[in-house]
Symmetry: C2
Subunit: 190 residues, 2 copies
């Protein structure tokens, strides 16, 4: 998606430690017009898939998920990071390893919010190693629902999480896939 | 807003300890159609206010904030709950007491995301004691911006936070204000 790539080049900031900061337009301060365009593009990429629900993980995926859901006119469900180790039997839960923070989060959704006949599109702002995506896929599977695929704003292609999921048969569509970033600037795939 | 009140009566669940659970349509699983209507209604309530930015706090306010921002075509900024006590000089920060969880959170926004000429509308899913709202107002003030007012989906009127802010001159508009809830059901103000 050229609009997003151009915006990343213009307003994204690369920091040591493989960090791409897009907090000026994507996941802290959020550009509403860009969100609408992202919603339309994801809608186009998954046309005909009979999606019943958009799923994401708090907090930075919610804005993009809402934009897609608004376009498709389906509900959004966001998984919550669970604070305590006391998981009740009213929720589905999965473990998500964070490479950024070096810890493991338990993520949960209430069982009554996912159904066996749900066709779920997972949406997130970033895809790197794919751990968040795998956690969300696990939650949908626990409910007996179907994962239609995943729509990601920015994929860090060189970290391999997206390609591993594609090799397993998942439809993973990223609007901007980064091959490399550093002193030479940001190089996109394609 | 009758549509929201009807939905609260239909799908909201009241639990002991003054808990109103609306996770089936407002702040976990999110009804996209309802969000659009909320966005339109908030837009109507603050017409002519020349709002430049919507502000909320992660995570449950983000969906509603995005709906309002989409309608007004302005950016959303969400304050983050800060994990460590190490606050850098690149952020504005404020303390927010949580009556629900019995703790104090530090909330932050990056300084470059708020400007002195911003006219900010604060949006959130719930208003009870008003602590979150006061934290967000404090962040806007630190930046030298102006708080146009606050738009809330559900106000717990009997907890007094909204009326205290109104007495201080803030325009606080709640789409559904609850006077009481318990065995007799939910009673709305008006």
């Amino acid at each position: 998606m050229d609009l997003l790539k151009q915006r990343i080049v213009k307003d994204g900031k690369v920091f040591p430690g493989n960090i791409l900061k897009v907090s000026g337009f994507l996941n802290h301060l959020i550009d509403s017009s860009l969100m609408k365009e992202i919603g339309k593009e994801v809608c186009r990429l998954f046309e005909g898939e009979k999606i019943t629900k958009i799923m994401t993980i708090e907090a930075s995926g919610i804005a993009i998920a809402c934009a897609v859901a608004s376009e498709l006119n389906v509900p959004v469900l966001f998984a919550k990071k669970h604070k305590s180790s006391n998981i009740t039997n009213t929720v589905y839960s999965a473990q998500v390893k964070s490479y950024t923070h070096g810890n493991v989060n338990t993520v949960v959704v209430e069982k009554e919010c996912l159904a066996v006949d749900d066709r779920v599109l997972i949406v997130d702002d970033f895809l790197a190693h794919g751990e968040s995506l795998r956690g969300l896929i696990e939650l949908v599977k626990q409910a007996g629902g179907e994962v239609v695929g995943a729509a990601i704003a920015i994929e860090k292609g060189y970290q391999g999480g997206g390609d591993a999921l594609r090799a397993e048969g998942y439809k993973v569509e990223s609007l901007a896939t980064i091959e490399s970033m550093g002193d030479d600037g940001i190089i996109f795939r394609n």
